[in-house]
């Protein structure tokens, strides 16, 4: 099962309404990228009718530019503001996707977000889950939005 359209719609919507940024979805990746270099990842868990994780991965430069737009200030290093902003962005994206997956807002609930950053790190999931990874282009640079999800039966 693929969630590419939900990811694209949610991301375009959140960036245009919350960050006043235009972003364009590119073709979804056929093979997920698991290792990220000099990047920041915002990640949040989803639980309930669907369980999964939503992550946004941005190179440090893009993460700083996104945070600058988000907070309306100049950002010149990967400080706590950038990590908070990327976590909060993951939270908003997951909130938007959750509304597309179910009309009942109680069906799916979100955890609190975390942010990961570093020179080189990898994220692995257990293989049985459905996965979608969509790249986006923006004035801040490219970034990736990833959804790992399984529907509960």
């Amino acid at each position: 099962m693929s969630w590419d359209t939900h990811i694209a719609d949610a991301t375009v919507e959140i960036f245009s309404t919350m960050l006043m940024m235009e972003v364009n979805p590119l073709a979804p990746l056929t093979e997920r990228i698991k290792t990220h270099q000099k990047s920041v990842t915002g990640i949040v868990g989803m639980a309930g009718l669907y369980k999964g994780m939503l992550a946004i991965h941005a190179p440090a430069t893009a993460a700083m530019a996104i945070t600058g737009n988000f907070l309306g200030l100049e950002v010149d290093d990967v400080n706590d503001d950038v990590k908070d902003a990327m976590g909060e962005l993951a939270n908003m994206l997951a909130g938007s996707i959750k509304a597309k997956l179910s009309d009942n807002s109680k069906d799916i609930q979100l955890s609190i977000p975390s942010a990961v950053c570093g020179g080189s790190y990898s994220l692995d999931y257990q293989p049985q889950q459905g996965c979608s990874m969509v790249p986006f282009e923006s004035t801040a640079g490219r970034f990736l939005v990833e959804l790992q999800l399984e529907q509960q039966t």
Partner: protein
């Protein structure tokens, strides 16, 4: 509710019955550790009456020992088995926390686990969330089990 006790019970149960390795709990940490080197962190989100994230941070040596004992084989490098195993440990410990919380009339639902690994990375959660962490000493290193959460009630 005693969250450090919840971590100790849930983790000890998994190590005694599934991993079959001795993991001695220490005093709860007083300072946050956010930077990890040559390590793997299994993370899992949860939501419901309490929402938060569980993180189990293992130096590579500890992660390999846990995987070897869990799977009953020699593990000499960080491979997919190790990443899957640490994700699964997070899943099992979170399952134990869910039971502990339910005994205190707090219901939670779990997300899926993610394993983060790398030579040098940081993990950061919302600054305003509560934080409890308990170190566990194993034969070849220390594993840190962290819980970050906000109560909804």
């Amino acid at each position: 509710m005693d969250f450090a006790q919840a971590i100790i019970e849930a983790t000890s149960d998994v190590f005694n019955t599934m991993v079959m390795l001795e993991a001695a709990p220490g005093a709860p940490a007083t300072e946050k550790t956010t930077a990890f080197s040559d390590a793997i962190s299994g993370i899992l989100g949860f939501s419901g009456d309490i929402k938060g994230m569980l993180r189990i941070n293992c130096p590579n040596q500890v992660a390999m020992a846990i995987t070897g004992s869990l799977l009953g084989m020699e593990v000499e490098e960080i491979d997919d088995d190790v990443r899957d195993a640490i994700g699964e440990i997070a899943n099992m410990v979170a399952g134990g926390l869910k039971i502990y919380f339910a005994r205190h009339n707090q219901n939670i639902e779990l997300s899926i686990p993610t394993a983060i690994g790398g030579q040098a990375y940081t993990v950061h959660s919302l600054a305003n969330a509560e934080w409890v962490a308990v170190p566990f000493t194993l034969a070849n290193g220390v594993m840190l089990v962290e819980l970050q959460f906000v109560g909804l009630k």
